[in-house]
C-alpha cells in the first residue's frame, strides 16, 4: 500500500488503482513511502539519499534481521561478561579460532562494535521514521478526514439504497450517528466524511518511542550501575563501601562517593534438600536471615532473603546468590598459643553435593623456640562423607549429614607480607614446604572435634565446627523504573497498533435522476478486515430509520434492497489493472445510475 498518495486527487483512469481514491485513501497510516529514485550527484544529494535509505522500511527491516542474526553468536560462544572462565577455556582449546573470535569481538558480542553499530543504526532509522510520522499524525489530528472519493463503489466495502428522505436530512442523521459512534465526522459537499481508530497510529508511535526509552534506560543502567559480590559467614556482616566487596564492577559513570551507607549481618543460613527420589539432593529452600540497617545510625531490622526475594535497601538490592560451608578451626602453634580461630569459607567444587575446597592461612605462627613459621593448610570439606569404603573425598549429599574435613599442612613463608594481593582461597606454595610423615605428605580426615597434630611439635589444628556462608550480590542499577515504564508503554502501544482498526467511512446522499435520494456508504480500512463490512452494515442499519428504504423499481420484489445495481457497473472492471475497456467511460460521474444488472454479488456467498 505504498502508492505515492501525496499527489492531489487525480481521477485519471491511467493511474494505479489506489489513486482513484484520491486523498481519501491517503494517510490512513503515516507509514513511510518507498523511494525508488536514484540520488542526484553531489554530497548533499548523497547524504539525503543515504538518510532516505536508512529511514526506509526496507532498510529498517534489514537491520532488524541483522540484529537477530547478530545476537545468535553471543548465545552459542562463551561470553566474558557471563563466564570468563569458559572464555579462557575456549581460547585454550581453540587457539586459532579463539584469536579470530577475539578480533571479531565474539567473546563480548553485545558490547562489540558491530553489534552496537547495528542497533544504533536501527535506532537512528527508527527516530528518522518516528519524527516525520509524528508530525504527520499531528497534522492529521488537527485536520479533518479527507472528503469522499468520487466513486465510492471502488472502496473495499460499499452499500447503497434509495430513500424518501431528503439528502440534507440523511447527511445530518449520518453525521450525528457517526459522531455518536465516536467517529470524527464532518460534512464535505454532498457527503459526510468520518474517520475512527486514530489510536492505532498513536499506539504505533508510542510503541516505537517506548523502544527508544527502553534503550536509553538500558544505557543509563549500564553506565551508572554498580555490582559487587560479598561472601558472608554466619555471624559476620557487610557494610556498603568499596573495600568491603570481594569483587566489584561498575559502569563508566559510577561514582563511589554516591554509595549509600547501609549494611547487614548474616544471622543464620538455612538450606533444605530433597531427601529421596530421583532428584535427591536438589535444593528445596535457601534462606538467609539478615539483620540490616540503613544510614549511619539506622535502626536495625530483621528479614529473610531468598533466591527470588532480594532485600531492597537504600536504592540497592541484595540478592542471595549461593552458599557453602565454612569449617571452624582452631590453630595452635609450636608455643601452644592459639594463633588462629574462626570459620574459613570453603568453595564448592561440585555444585550439587557441595564437595568444597579451601585453605587456612596462619601468618602469625611460630615454632616452639619462637622462630617465625607461617602455617598453611589446604584441603577438602565434604558435608556428607561417603564412608571409609568409598575411598574418595566426594560428598554424597549437600546437607551436613556426615561432615569430614581433610587437610594437609604446609609451613614456611605464605607470601602475604609482600604486599601483593593474594587469592584467599589458594595457597601460594612457592616458599612453603609440605609437612611429611615418613616421606608421605601429612594428611588427616577429621570429624568435628578432632585434631591433627603437626610434626616436630609445630602445633595442631582442631576442627571445631561448621558454619554456613552465603554469598550475596549487591547491585545498584538506576534506570530500572524507566525501563519498566518503557516496557509497559511499548506493550500498550503495541496492543493499540495491532488491535485497533483505523478506518474511514463516507456517506453520500444525493438526489437521483428520478428525484429519489440515493444513499451511498463506503468504508476503507488500512488492512482488509472482515470487521469493516460488518461495521458498515451496522452503520447502514442504524442510519436506516432516518433514511427509510424505498424499493427499487428495477429489481425483483424478492430482493428489493440490494445494492448490486449500483455495484455491478464499476465492479466489472478487472481489478489489478485499470480497465482498458472502461477507460473511456471512467470519466463518468461516480454516481451510480440504475442499471438492469441482477443481484449477482450474493452468489459468491460465504463459504
Amino acid at each position: 500500500m505504498s502508492t505515492k498518495t501525496d499527489t492531489p486527487r487525480e481521477p485519471g483512469p491511467a493511474a494505479d488503482p489506489g489513486s482513484d481514491l484520491g486523498a481519501a485513501g491517503s494517510q490512513l497510516s503515516t507509514a513511510p513511502q518507498e523511494e525508488v529514485t536514484l540520488p542526484s550527484l553531489g554530497p548533499i544529494g548523497w547524504v539525503r539519499w543515504f538518510w532516505r535509505q536508512l529511514t526506509s522500511m526496507r532498510v529498517a527491516l534489514l537491520l532488524l534481521f541483522l540484529l537477530s542474526i547478530g545476537a545468535i553468536p553471543g548465545s552459542l560462544i562463551p561470553q566474558t561478561s557471563i563466564d570468563p572462565v569458559k572464555v579462557d577455556q575456549f581460547k585454550a582449546d581453540h587457539t586459532t579460532l579463539g584469536d579470530i573470535y577475539d578480533k571479531l569481538g565474539m567473546f563480548h558480542v553485545y558490547s562489540s562494535v558491530w553489534f552496537s553499530a547495528i542497533y544504533l543504526l536501527l535506532f537512528i532509522s527508527l527516530i528518522g521514521c518516528i519524527v516525520p510520522r509524528s508530525w504527520q499524525f499531528v497534522g492529521q489530528l488537527r485536520g479533518r478526514p479527507p472528503g469522499a472519493p468520487r466513486r465510492l463503489t471502488r472502496l473495499p466495502a460499499y452499500t447503497t439504497w434509495r430513500t424518501d428522505a431528503a439528502p440534507e436530512e440523511v447527511l445530518g442523521a449520518a453525521q450525528r450517528l457517526l459522531k455518536k459512534r465516536r467517529f470524527r465526522a464532518h460534512r464535505a459537499g454532498t457527503a459526510v466524511a468520518a474517520e475512527k481508530g486514530y489510536l492505532r497510529e498513536a499506539g504505533n508511535l508510542v510503541f516505537h518511542v517506548a523502544l527508544i526509552v527502553m534503550l536509553v534506560a538500558f544505557a543509563v543502567g549500564s553506565l551508572w550501575k554498580s555490582e559487587g559480590g560479598k561472601l558472608v559467614t554466619e555471624g559476620d556482616g557487610f557494610a556498603n563501601s568499596l573495600t568491603q566487596f570481594d569483587d566489584f564492577k561498575s559502569g563508566a559513570f559510577f561514582d563511589t562517593d554516591t554509595m549509600e551507607p547501609f549494611g547487614f549481618t548474616l544471622n543464620k543460613f538455612e538450606a533444605t534438600y530433597e531427601r529421596s527420589g530421583p532428584q535427591k539432593g536438589t535444593p528445596r529452600t535457601f534462606r538467609a536471615h539478615l539483620t540490616y540497617y540503613t544510614g549511619a545510625d539506622g535502626k536495625e531490622h530483621r528479614r529473610a532473603v531468598e533466591v527470588n526475594t532480594p532485600l531492597d535497601i537504600a536504592g540497592s538490592k541484595v540478592f542471595l546468590l549461593s552458599h557453602g560451608y565454612a569449617p571452624e578451626v582452631t590453630v595452635k602453634d609450636g608455643r601452644g598459643k592459639v594463633v588462629y580461630q574462626g570459620a574459613v569459607p570453603f568453595l564448592p567444587q561440585d555444585p550439587k553435593n557441595l564437595t568444597s575446597t579451601g585453605v587456612v592461612k596462619v601468618p602469625g605462627a611460630q615454632t616452639k623456640d619462637g622462630k617465625r613459621n607461617q602455617l598453611g593448610f589446604q584441603g577438602f570439606f565434604v558435608p556428607t562423607f561417603g564412608g571409609k569404603g568409598s575411598g574418595s573425598m566426594f560428598s554424597q549429599f549437600p546437607a551436613l549429614d556426615y561432615p569430614v574435613l581433610t587437610l594437609t599442612a604446609y609451613h614456611g613463608d605464605l607470601g602475604v607480607d609482600s604486599g601483593l594481593p593474594q587469592n584467599v582461597y589458594q595457597l601460594q606454595k612457592k616458599y612453603l614446604k609440605q609437612y611429611k610423615v615418613k616421606g608421605a605428605p601429612l594428611a588427616k580426615m577429621m570429624l568435628p572435634g578432632e585434631t591433627m597434630k603437626l610434626p616436630n611439635g609445630d602445633g595442631s589444628i582442631q576442627f571445631t565446627g561448621i558454619k554456613n556462608w552465603a554469598s550475596f550480590k549487591i547491585t545498584h542499577q538506576p534506570g530500572n523504573g524507566l525501563a519498566l515504564a518503557g516496557a509497559v508503554a511499548a506493550l500498550l502501544g503495541l496492543a493499540g497498533s495491532l488491535f485497533i482498526q483505523r478506518r474511514r467511512v463516507w456517506v453520500r446522499a444525493e438526489p437521483g435522476a428520478d428525484g429519489v435520494t440515493v444513499v451511498e456508504m463506503a468504508g476503507l480500512g488500512r488492512s482488509e478486515s472482515p470487521r469493516l463490512p460488518e461495521e458498515l452494515g451496522d452503520l447502514a442499519a442504524a442510519l436506516e430509520p432516518d433514511a427509510p428504504l424505498v424499493p427499487d423499481a428495477a429489481t425483483g420484489p424478492d430482493a428489493p434492497t440490494t445494492g448490486s445495481d449500483a455495484a455491478t457497473g464499476p465492479e466489472s472492471d478487472p481489478q489489478p489493472e485499470p480497465a482498458p475497456a472502461a477507460g473511456s467511460g471512467s470519466e463518468d460521474p461516480a454516481e451510480p445510475t440504475d442499471s438492469d444488472g441482477p443481484a449477482e454479488p450474493s452468489e459468491g456467498a460465504r463459504a
Binding site: P156, T159, A487, L494, F499, S564, S602
Partner: protein, 362 residues
C-alpha cells in the same frame, strides 16, 4: 511430609496414565483424520482451478461477497454490503476442507474431532493431576512444559472450532505434532514429578511460563498456517499460469482442499499479530522476574537472547507483511524462521546450551 509424598506419587502415576491414554486417543484421531483426507480425495472438485480459470473471464462474480447479516426478514430490511478485495489478490475461494464435500470423509472428520475432544479431556486431566501431585504450576521442567504446551495448542484449536472458525484443515497437522510432542515428552524429556528448585519459587512462574506456553501454542498454529500458505500459494500460482508447470495429482488433491492462500495468510497474520503483544509481555515478565531473582532484568543469558531473537523475528514478519516487495511468500518465510527460533529457544537452548534457565534437569 512422607504421607504427602506418597499421595503425590499416586497422583503422579495417574497423571502419566492419563497422558498415555490421551496419546492413544490422539492416535485414533490421527487415523480418523487420515481417513477423512483419503475419502475426501475421491471427490474431484477442482474448485480452485475452476475459479482461477473463470476469473479471467468473469472476475466480478468471484470477487463479490456479501457480508453476513442477520437471518430471516432482517436481510430484506437491511442494505447489503458489498466487499471488494485488494487489487492484485487472486480471489480464489477456500477449498472444501479435508472431506472434500464427501459424506464419508465428513463423517470421519467429525469422528476425528470427537476423538480429539476426548483425547484433550484426558490430556488436560493429565496436566491437572500432575499439578496436583506437586501442588504447584505444572511447568517446572521440559516434560511438564511440553505436555501443557500440547494441551494448550489443542485447546485453542477446539476453541476456534466452537467459535465456528474455519480451522478444520489444521486438525491433521495439529494431531500429528501433538503426538510427536507428547512422544518426545514421555520418552526423552520425562522427569518424575517433584518439587521445584528454589530459583523457580516465584509467582512469576505462573505469569511468565503460562504466557510463554500460550504464546508458543498460538504461534505454532500460525506457523502451520504459514507453512500451508507457502504450499497452497505455489499451487495457486501454478494454476494461474496454465502455460507453466502444473501441480501433480497428489499435490492437487491435497492442496485444493485447503483454504485459499489468501485465507491461510490472513489466518496466520491474525494469529501471529494477536499473540505478538503476549509474547512481548512474556519477555517483559521474564525480565521482571530476572530482576528479582538475579539482580538484573537483562543479562544476555542464552534463553533471553533467543527470546529476543524470536521477538525480532516476529517483528520482522509483521513489518515485512506491510512492506511492498516483502509481503506474501517472503514474509511467510520470515514467520517460519521466527517460529523456528521459538522452537530452538525451547529445545536447543534447554538441551545444548548451558545458561541460567537450565536448572530443571531438562
Amino acid at each position: 511430609m512422607n504421607i504427602a509424598a506418597a499421595a503425590n506419587e499416586t497422583l503422579a502415576h495417574n497423571s502419566n496414565l492419563l497422558v498415555y491414554s490421551a496419546m492413544a486417543v490422539y492416535t485414533l484421531a490421527f487415523v480418523a483424520h487420515m481417513s477423512e483426507w483419503v475419502f475426501g480425495s475421491r471427490s474431484k472438485v477442482a474448485r480452485t482451478a475452476a475459479a482461477l480459470t473463470s476469473q479471467a473471464t468473469a472476475p466480478a462474480t468471484a470477487s463479490a461477497k456479501v457480508a453476513q447479516q442477520g437471518g430471516g426478514t432482517a436481510v430484506l430490511e437491511r442494505p447489503k454490503v458489498i466487499t471488494k478485495s485488494a487489487a492484485g489478490s487472486r480471489d480464489v475461494p477456500d477449498g472444501p476442507g479435508a472431506a472434500g464435500g464427501t459424506e464419508k470423509g465428513d463423517l470421519y472428520g467429525r469422528i476425528a474431532i470427537s476423538l480429539t475432544v476426548l483425547a484433550w479431556g484426558l490430556h488436560v486431566g493429565g496436566v491437572i493431576t500432575r499439578a496436583l501431585s506437586v501442588q504447584r504450576a505444572p511447568w517446572g521442567n521440559m516434560y511438564e512444559f511440553s505436555t501443557t504446551f500440547a494441551a494448550v495448542a489443542v485447546g485453542i484449536y477446539l476453541l476456534l472450532l466452537t467459535l465456528r472458525k474455519n480451522v478444520r484443515w489444521i486438525g491433521l497437522p495439529l494431531v500429528t505434532t501433538v503426538l510427536l510432542d507428547l512422544g518426545l515428552a514421555v520418552s526423552v524429556l520425562y522427569t518424575a514429578s517433584d518439587q521445584l528448585v528454589p530459583a523457580l519459587h516465584s509467582y512469576w512462574l505462573w505469569i511468565h511460563v503460562s504466557c510463554a506456553i500460550l504464546s508458543g501454542a498460538v504461534l505454532y498454529l500460525g506457523a502451520v498456517a504459514t507453512l500451508l500458505f507457502l504450499f497452497r500459494d505455489r499451487y495457486e500460482a501454478k494454476l494461474a499460469d496454465p502455460a507453466g508447470k502444473q501441480p501433480g495429482a497428489f499435490a492437487t488433491s491435497v492442496l485444493e482442499r485447503l483454504p485459499s492462500a489468501a485465507s491461510l495468510d490472513k489466518f496466520a497474520y491474525r494469529v501471529n499479530a494477536t499473540v505478538f503483544p503476549l509474547w512481548t509481555f512474556t519477555i517483559i515478565a521474564g525480565a521482571i522476574w530476572a530482576e528479582a531473582a538475579w539482580g538484573r532484568y537483562w543479562g544476555w543469558d542464552p534463553k533471553e537472547v533467543w527470546a529476543f531473537i524470536t521477538w525480532v523475528g516476529y517483528a520482522c514478519y509483521l513489518h515485512a507483511r506491510s512492506t511492498a516487495g516483502w509481503k506474501g511468500r517472503k514474509a511467510a518465510w520470515l514467520g517460519l524462521i521466527a517460529f523456528a527460533c521459538y522452537l530452538f529457544n525451547y529445545y536447543g537452548v534447554n538441551i545444548f546450551v548451558t545458561g541460567l534457565h537450565s536448572y530443571a534437569g531438562v
